[in-house]
Amino acid sequence: MEHWLAQVAPFLSHNTIFTPATLAAYWGGMVTTVQLVFISLVIGIVLAIPLAIGRASHRVWISGPIWFYTYVFRGTPLLIQLYIAYYGFAFIPGVQQSWFAFFINNALYPALLSFVLNTGAYTTEIFYGAIRATPRGELEAARAYGMSSFTAYRRIVLPSALRRALPAYGNEVIFMLHASAIASAVTITDMTGVAYNVYAEFYSPFPPFIFVACLYMALSFGIQGVFRLAEKRLLRHLKPA
């Protein structure tokens, strides 16, 4: 044991992870990642609920465009969507002089836009699937008891569908957390960005990348825990006594 510690000591003494400066940088990166992902998810879900309802409509002029939106955003890589938002908009002539300039001058906005549209598309499909899986009889009972379509949606279809969507949505949240790593490709110093900077500075790949991998893992673990609790509470009606 002593022998082993003596061998490891030199590595620990000039490691690049546990210096105060890098720790602060990692913390900053984590805050950026969490903010970016959290805001994207919140806006995405607000977008996805009405879109999922529209996607379930039997009127093609409502469901068609929504289908097209989810098809495009689920059918193309998030990195491409991010590049288009980040590099593409900046190329529109005159954009620098317009009110829209704020959007291209800070990489966070294009990143947010692409993340929101991407998670919005996936979440729409998740919720849509859950809405379609509403037991026919439950909807029929709602109608037979005199509920309007609006009341039936508000009281029966959505509460039951959103509960059913919980496990799939939990996956989407974790997926989004990991996908957010590509924000570092457009100058954002999220967790991955910080790890890259530390690597570039010290030319030492393993410690920073493995360390942020652990941070991602810890965050995923936390998210899983939250969803497990929520499922336990909100899906208890599916468990036999």
């Binding site: 029929e140 109608r143 037979a144 008891y145 005199g146 509920m147 309007s148 009281r155």
Partner: protein, 256 residues
């Protein structure tokens, strides 16, 4: 008797699915306290007939009149449909239905199911609805199961809960769509017992059923349907005791 004193009048109902006629001119009058049993083989149209009464299926022709209020129809693109869905919702709320598959709302507790429509359709206060609901659950023998979810209840308990949900609407007519067909034989009795009690206290009921004993003992009128038409109708003692139709004799078998 004037129409507006009769809880439910159905006149000359026609319904077809994709040009297949299912109902061909069915009529029915449910007076206060009547228990009308609809019997017949599968595919005879009895469930469709019942589902037309609260507009879960839209009849292609015919009238539905609830206490004198006639359901208004219009024709759009060659299809007949209710002219006023608000009216349909109002009328549905007066005719509670009990389904073959119970159709309790799975994400709500039993008591949540019972108070749901009184609160969110009739606009009753939660407190009032809860008190009424507890009394009803007591009646159907499920007071101790109020906070259970449907999945935690047996089929018979679910169906008795569904009856409590129907009663919570103070319905003018109760529609039963084969309420015991999905139940294990040993659970049928509990549900039928509750239905007998409802009949005894003078509830107006229309019941699609395969329970011939129930139809014979409890109904005031029995209607035997065959291929979307009334083959025979009358008092249960006549229909069961002295059937005139050959088909009905065959349907009833040697027991009656």
């Amino acid at each position: 008797m004037a129409d507006n004193a009769i809880p439910l009048v159905v006149r000359d109902l026609h319904k077809s699915f994709n040009d297949n006629p299912v109902l061909e001119g069915l009529s029915l009058e449910a007076h206060e306290g009547d228990v009308i049993s609809l019997i017949g083989a599968s595919g005879s149209g009895k469930s469709t007939f019942l589902r037309c009464m609260n507009l879960l299926e839209i009849p292609n022709a015919g009238d539905i009149v609830v206490h004198g209020e006639s359901v208004k129809f219009k024709t759009r693109r060659g299809e007949r449909e209710p002219a006023d869905w608000k009216q349909v919702e109002r009328i549905r709320a007066r005719l509670s239905m009990v389904f073959q598959g119970f159709n309790l709302w799975a994400h709500m507790t039993l008591i949540g199911n019972v108070i749901e429509a009184p609160v969110h359709v009739l606009g009753k206060s939660k407190k009032e609805a809860r008190e009424h609901a507890m009394a009803l659950l007591e009646r159907v023998g499920l007071a101790d199961r109020a906070d259970y979810f449907p999945a935690q209840l047996s089929g018979g308990q679910q169906q008795r809960g569904a009856i409590a949900r129907a009663l919570a609407m103070d319905p003018e007519v109760m529609l039963f769509d084969e309420p015991t067909s999905a139940l294990d034989p040993e659970l049928v009795g509990d549900v039928l017992k509750v239905m007998r009690e409802l009949a005894d206290e003078g509830r107006t009921m229309v019941v699609v059923t395969h329970e011939m004993d129930f139809a014979r003992d409890v109904s005031s009128q029995v209607i035997y349907l065959h291929q979307g038409r009334v083959e025979e109708a009358g008092k249960p003692e006549d229909v069961f005791g002295n059937p005139s139709s050959e088909r009905l004799k065959q349907f009833l078998g040697p027991r009656f």
